[in-house]
């Protein structure tokens, strides 16, 4: 089978790669890039807002948890434009591996209000806002989250 017959194959000219320093604030670069691409692909503005929130949470997790704020470590974001949607992959360099049980949280605000740490909403938001979400191990050994947002006809 020729590689271009493989449904998983994406021409390189449709892939955007960002390598971001592990410093809070750089998630905005990923948000802006994804937003610009999604707008050109024809996504509805509401869906673009959802995409921006999801990608900001994924990159922030990679900076804070995966790479432990080590600015020398990179967060790699791949944006792949497909005819039916946008695939976003966010990978860190795995200073700290995310336990699988932390990838399906279901926080309840009444419980959270009782805790001193009021956080824990990021991955939940990603799952609520994206059409497909999968947590895996990156080729580099770090954490990787793959998200898909469908382009509705």
């Amino acid at each position: 089978m020729a590689i271009s017959d493989d449904p998983a194959y994406q021409p390189l000219d449709k892939v955007i790669e960002l390598r971001l320093p592990s410093k809070l604030g750089y998630e905005r670069v990923a948000m802006d890039t994804a937003s610009s691409l999604a707008r050109r692909m024809g996504f509805h503005p509401d869906r673009i807002e959802s995409l921006k929130t999801a990608i900001s949470e994924a990159v922030t997790n990679a900076i804070e948890h995966g790479n432990q704020h080590d600015e020398a470590m990179k967060v790699v974001v791949l944006l792949t434009a497909r005819d039916d949607g946008l695939v976003i992959s966010v990978a860190d360099q795995g200073q700290k591996i995310l336990p699988q049980e932390h990838t399906t949280p279901s926080p309840q605000i009444a419980d959270v209000m009782e805790r001193s740490d009021k956080g824990g909403w990021g991955i939940w938001l990603i799952r609520e806002l994206m059409d497909e979400v999968e947590f895996t191990t990156a080729p580099s050994g770090g954490n990787q989250v793959r998200m898909v947002i469908h382009l509705e006809p």
Binding site: M113, G120, L125
Partner: protein, 120 residues
Amino acid sequence: MLEDDLTVTTRDQDGVAIIDLVGDVTTFAEDKINNAYREVTNTGARFVLLNFRQNDYINSAGIAILIGIVTEVNRNNQKLAVSGLSQHFQKIFRMVGLAQYADIYQTEEEALSGFDRFRG
């Protein structure tokens, strides 16, 4: 450049303590928001309005800060409302459950009127 893009100010309007939040609400906002809330609470505010403007970016760390405010508001028997959020962040506030603890209004004027029903 990429870190701190929030201005927080407080004012009183018709007995409502308004906290204006102009800019982004992320982890860098924690001290500014908490200090503004403490300031209005120390002056005896019963009604508190978080008035958002130009908030293109509220992330989960920002949501955690706001849940902290909601927790304090409940503890202090105050009433809280929010105004000025974009449609997207109104949706996020409802999803998270913040709307159970704070009425959400489109505008500051609507929010100020909304407090009237609590006045005895």
